[in-house]
């Protein structure tokens, strides 16, 4: 199978339902990608991920570059083979982690110099290097290196980041096309080995967002992402900026909003024309005993659940809700058991993937707006 994206249905809100095909299988959009930072979704086996219906996951280039190293992964046949995951994989560029995790970073037009958070070793990440690492990993979708800035950002900083992001995208695209035509296309027989996505920046300035989008569209990427949002600004602002950008993006190519979101916000992004999302929230919250349910968040360590014999979410059909009670999960968390994280993660990822199924169905019926208001109402009301 080779790469393809098609929008099959639309909704009055502007939401799109579609299908994204990759050499590692197809997935339906809008899609949520569970985060598998170091080549594993923390706490889930691949068997569990498949049982949950995940067809695409995200892995972090920064982490895999530092450990075990992209050259090792290339040598062992690429990331899919290394981790034994037959489905699709999207890798980020490593940029966001360099900006958030590493020490002593120094940004120039050349790239970003940083020290590993693991051993202090010094590295230089350039647009070309980020593309090369991802080609070595062999992910299905690769992201260009962008400049991530802190929020709220002054206008001049945001302008500079847009300029550099466009320049880096141009270099990344050129390098990727050259390298993949040399190596990857030969390996796969036809077409490119990866789809490379651009990332629109521009902080919270609508005109900068538009400038960034237009500059990147000239480079003709097969897909476009929106970065630098959901990093502290109000949800309304995230939506405004997302809408400003999706208005400009080509309708026949996938749009990926990076690093979102809360359960009740997802439908809002989809209504703005977003096709793909990723977030550590379901997995990270699970490890901290925060359970997402159809009735809102359940903080399962709370004393009120000590004798609660209901499942985590009475409306849920996942394997955890079928078998275990809130009282038992609460006990496992208090006892500090690994099994607590396993079960909570399983449920939360199911919850997110199930939201996506419901959203796709709602788009099919043209009533996403109704679904969205119901979610907001349930989440503002809190747990029963």
């Amino acid at each position: 199978m080779s790469f393809a994206f098609e929008v099959t249905q639309t909704d009055p809100t502007g939401a799109r339902r579609g299908k994204f095909s990759t050499p590692h299988g197809a997935f339906e959009t809008p899609a949520f990608m569970p985060v598998g930072t170091a080549a594993t979704v923390k706490g889930l086996t691949h068997d569990a991920l498949e049982q949950l219906g995940a067809r695409i996951i995200l892995a972090n280039t920064y982490h895999l570059y530092l450990r075990p190293g992209h050259e090792l992964i290339r040598k062992l046949g690429g990331l899919h083979k290394f981790m034994s995951w037959p489905g699709a994989i999207l890798t980020d560029s490593g940029g966001f982690q360099v900006f958030s995790l590493s020490d002593l970073r120094k940004i120039t037009d050349d790239g970003v110099r940083f020290r590993s958070h693991l051993d202090g070793s010094e590295h230089l990440l350039t647009p070309e290097k980020a593309a090369e690492i991802q080609l070595a990993l062999g992910s299905d979708i690769a992201m260009v290196l962008d400049e991530c800035i802190e929020t709220p950002a002054p206008r001049d900083i945001a302008e500079s980041a847009v300029r550099r992001t466009s320049m880096w995208a141009r270099r990344a695209r050129a390098h990727f096309l050259q390298k993949s035509q040399e190596a990857g296309a030969a390996a796969t027989g036809s077409g490119l080995p990866q789809w490379q996505f651009a990332i629109v920046q521009g902080a919270t300035f609508a005109d900068l967002r538009r400038d960034s989008a237009r500059q990147l569209l000239d480079l003709d990427f097969p897909g476009n992402a929106i970065g630098g949002l959901a990093v502290g600004e109000p949800h309304a602002m995230t939506c405004e900026m997302t809408g400003v950008v999706t208005e400009l993006l080509p309708k026949d190519r996938p749009r990926y909003l990076m690093g979102v979101g809360r359960p009740e916000q997802i439908a809002d992004y989809v209504a703005l024309g977003i096709d793909m999302m990723d977030c550590v929230l379901p997995t990270r919250a699970a490890r901290h005993a925060c359970i997402y349910t159809s009735e809102g968040r359940v903080l399962i360590k709370n004393a009120r659940y000590a004798e609660d014999q209901r499942p985590l979410d009475p409306a849920c059909t996942c394997a955890v809700c079928k078998r275990y009670t809130r009282a038992y999960l609460r006990h496992l968390f208090h006892a500090g058991e690994i099994t607590a994280a396993i079960l909570a993660t399983h449920h939360n990822v199911h919850f997110y993937l199930d939201i996506m199924r419901q959203i796709r169905e709602a788009i099919g019926f043209g009533n996403l707006a109704k679904f969205s208001s119901a979610m907001h109402a349930r989440y503002s009301a809190g747990p029963a």
Copy 2:
């Protein structure tokens, strides 16, 4: 189903193959019981445990008494319902953990006074209390409180522990029979709600071991355990003491050697007439990256496995060996991923349960001795 134990086949070594029926299903013997200290086998979901073929697990009374509390578990319908485990459960008496985990313990003929390792609260565990807690938990097999002593023990200390263990067993038996006839038998309709096992002590003194066994046999327990072994003495001594005791134990009742053992030692215990065993080794070793394989131990964090694309154990049929490579497992351990513990635990528990299947089969063919020498040879040779 009610309680029953029958020996169906024997082997020239003295090994027995049999079937143990409980109100929560039957299991074949010799059986290895994975340890689920706090009502979970660390790192394994119950679905995984069932997939692995576990039909009986062990839970620790000390831990469950302190957290979440046996009264809570009783209120929620007993341990099976609380943890959603339909198979058989054996609970220990709590004694061993009091002696190994708690502070400020003080032993008298009455019982043992100790401080919780969790919050420093003071508790008194008596033979009656240990029986009551286990009745509240509703395990299928309950153990009497015994006096556990440090090893090597001087003869006078061992003598005193044997005396107290017998006295406590008498009290525990009387209390259990009274309480279970009052409550449990009524609940199950017929027979006793639990089988209560005695524990033979006597350190490394053959005559004390025999005295202890004879005194306990007078109390007519439906099953007998051997405690205080595999606590530092040489394997040959463990075997000698086990043999001294099993010679005296009734042939038609189950024998349980507590807290053993290493993979290559299990067949030795079975050859001495042992029917049941438990040990944290497969699960604890897994979390410390020690993998048991048909070729010996594999310390998977070792650099030699960095590019090793073989499964953990090429001869293994478990779900982990079918899917993942040594290189990937090594990476997960180095990255500190929960998934490393999940996968390694799954494999190690499979390995132990598979040894038991092979041992039962070998008894059926009357060639356990051959199986045992092969295991010793493989484990002394080390990993390939």
